[in-house]
Every structure is written in C-alpha cells, then in structure tokens.
Symmetry: C2
C-alpha cells in the first residue's frame, strides 16, 4: 500500500498527523481510461494521487478535448470544488492504472486549517497552476499553433537541460498529448515535429526525444515569431 507521505500537499506532516489523515480517507483504484471525476457530478471530493497518472480535461462546446494538465503520483486533483463549493470545472481521467486517496471536502478543509504547512503547500500548488495557466493564456492569445508546439517542446527541454546544453525528453512526447496541451490538432504537432527533425533541432532516439542544442531551439522559436 502506497504511503500518504508521497502526496505533495501533505509534505511536512509528521507520522502522527499522517496517521490521522489516513483515518479520514478512502482508497480506490481506477483502471487506465476510467473517469475519476465527471463534470456533472455533485461530489466535491478531493483526490490525492498515490500512484499512476491522471489527465485533467475540458471539452469545448463543439466537443473538442482541451488538456489542462497531467498529474502524476503525489499530485492532487478535484480540490477546487472542495474549496469553493462550485461545480466541477473539468473532468479527470486515469491515464494509467491509478491509486487514489479520496478526502471529503469537510475533511480537506479541516486538514488545511489544522496544519499551516498543508495550507502553505496547497497555496504553493495553486500558485503553480496560476502561473502555468497565465503562460498558456498568453501563448494561445499571441502565438500561432506552430509556434505553440515549438514553445511547448522548448519548455520541456528547458526543464531537462544538461551541462552541455542538450536535453533528453523521455519517453518521446506523444503528439496527441502535446496537441491537447497547446490547443491544436495532432496533425499540426506531427507537421511541426517533422520540420524540427529535418532541421536537426530534435532527433528521435531509442531512449526518447533528443534535443542536441536547446539554445538553437530557442533561437528557432524567436526567429519564427519575429
């Protein structure tokens, strides 16, 4: 059984406090592809991800899927409704088999109010989402679809950059995932990835997608924009 201590927002709690939280959760396993949170549901439960991976998605009026984020083990989803009592803002799907700990809204509020470190962790996590969202709003408002794909690959590469200025994205990013994250089609992503590969800016190798020179990719993006 996965320990609750993997959960980011519970960081800093001692064993006694974790044991207390453990008494207030229900554990559940969702199989790959299962819907964890339905947008129409009345529930305001919070889901702590103990293992696996989930995808937070929204659907446009025309039914197009917009991926807002993917969250792995240690993350937390569904807390917005627990915080403000409003309906679910998105749905959550299990990408892999996923173990979760379910916390009721009342218990979530109690845990946050009883433990200043948990409150601060939740604030930190929400601030991270606000920053990511802001960047995405600016991107999607000001960049074309092609540039958004390059910008997304660049962002991934920048977080994995090594001393020699190269980066390895492993596993190779899935085109439809990138498409969802930057609000474009899978076909556009495939086309842009083809261009980047022909220019030697990325290479698919056995262990992942290799970016030999992150700085050159940055220059390529900045030239495409101007």
């Amino acid at each position: 059984m996965v320990e609750l201590s993997v959960v980011g927002i519970l960081a800093g709690l001692d064993d006694a406090a974790l044991a207390d939280v453990e008494r207030h959760i229900n554990r559940k396993t969702f199989s790959s592809g299962a819907q964890i949170i339905e947008p129409e549901s009345d529930s305001s439960d919070v889901y702590l991800i103990l293992s696996g991976k989930v995808r937070i998605v929204n659907y446009s009026v025309s039914g197009r899927e917009i991926t807002l984020e993917e969250i792995g083990a240690g993350g937390c989803v569904g807390h917005l409704s627990a915080i403000d009592g409003e309906p679910r803002s998105a749905c959550v799907l299990a990408v892999n088999n996923t173990d979760v700990a379910i916390v009721s809204p009342a218990n979530f509020e109690k845990i946050v109010k009883n433990h200043p470190s948990v409150a601060w962790n939740v604030i930190h996590e929400l601030a991270r989402i606000v920053r990511t969202s802001t960047r995405r709003i600016v991107d999607v408002s000001t960049l074309g679809a092609n540039e958004r794909v390059v910008a997304e690959i660049l962002r991934c590469a920048q977080t994995e950059i090594t001393d020699d200025g190269s980066a390895l994205l492993s596993p190779v990013p899935v085109h439809s995932d990138i498409a969802g994250r930057v609000s474009t089609s899978r076909e556009t992503v495939a086309r842009v990835m083809g261009t980047l590969a022909r220019k030697g800016l990325v290479n698919k190798i056995e262990t992942g997608l290799h970016v030999p020179d992150v700085r050159r990719l940055e220059e390529f993006l900045s030239e495409s924009i101007h």
Copy 2:
C-alpha cells in the same frame, strides 16, 4: 485612512490581529497610470488594494498587451512571487488612483501561517483565479474572436441579471478593456458590439450598457458556435 478590514484575504481577523498586520505594512498611493509592479523587478512584495483599481497585464513577445485581470478595492496582487519566490509573472498598473498596503514576502507567509482563516481566504482567491483562467484557456482555444467577445459580455450580464431577465452593465464596458480580456483587437470588439446593438441584444443607455434579455444573448452565442 482606509481600514485593512476591506481586504478580502484578511476577512475573519479580529481587531487585535488586524492591528498586528497594520504594524507590518507600508502604505503607498499610486496615481492613475502608474506601474505598481514591474515584471523585471526583484521585489516579491504583496500589494493589498485598499482603494482604486489595478490591471494585471502581460505582454506578448510582439509587445501586444494581454489583460489578465482587473482588481478593485479589497483585492490582492503580487502574491505569486511571495509564495514561490519565482520572478514576477506579469505587471500591475494603477487604473485609477490607488491606495495599497505593501506586505513583505516574509510577513505575508507569517500572516498566512499564523491565521488559518487567512490561509483559507488565500486558497479561495487562488482557486477563483484558476477557475477564471481555465475558462479563458478553453474559450481562447475553441472560440473565434467574435464569439469570445459575445461570451465576455454574456458573462458580465449573467452576474448582473435581474428578476426580469435583463441586466445593466454600468459603466458601459470600454472596448479596449474587453479586447484585452478576451485576447482580440479593439476593432473586433467594436464590430461585434455594433452587431449586438443592431440585433437589439444590447442598448447603450445613459446609465450603462443595457442587455434587455440575457437569455436571448445566450441563445445568440450558442447559435453562432454551432
């Protein structure tokens, strides 16, 4: 002198706690148009808005201004950097003459950690921003510029709707403000507002922009999309 009790995130603090916060702030007044937070600055101070109004803006690489939000008296800006220590994510301008209370990042963290009700208020406020941002990401990813303008007017009307199904937006929304909020040009907003007026969906009257039937505006948007 405006009391700190107007500030939303300080709601629930008793007089003694407010007096303690008062000892840890600096008051400052910015005149209309002044820059309150510069994106390049090293400061991580938090600004509590006591009176007036500020605009949070971001600039695209090509210099276009994207309005993220406008915040009036009682609001709070600049807390992201105080929370995560990262650089400023946007700049903040005074729209009107604006009185603020400035809190250092260390004091902000102390206030949040010492007062569970303040922590919960901050969590609430961040959750609100996440919801607004999510809606905007979905809008800008899936709606055309014309539909985004209508959706924005509709959202304003829905918050002001009266028993007879009409709404009054007062003062009349400024075209360039709407343009910034939905990531389009002022010209597009002017064109769409003209269409809405010709169809009788909105009327400019002395006291503001009158929406005689919010439900009809909703139907108009939903027909434009499908």
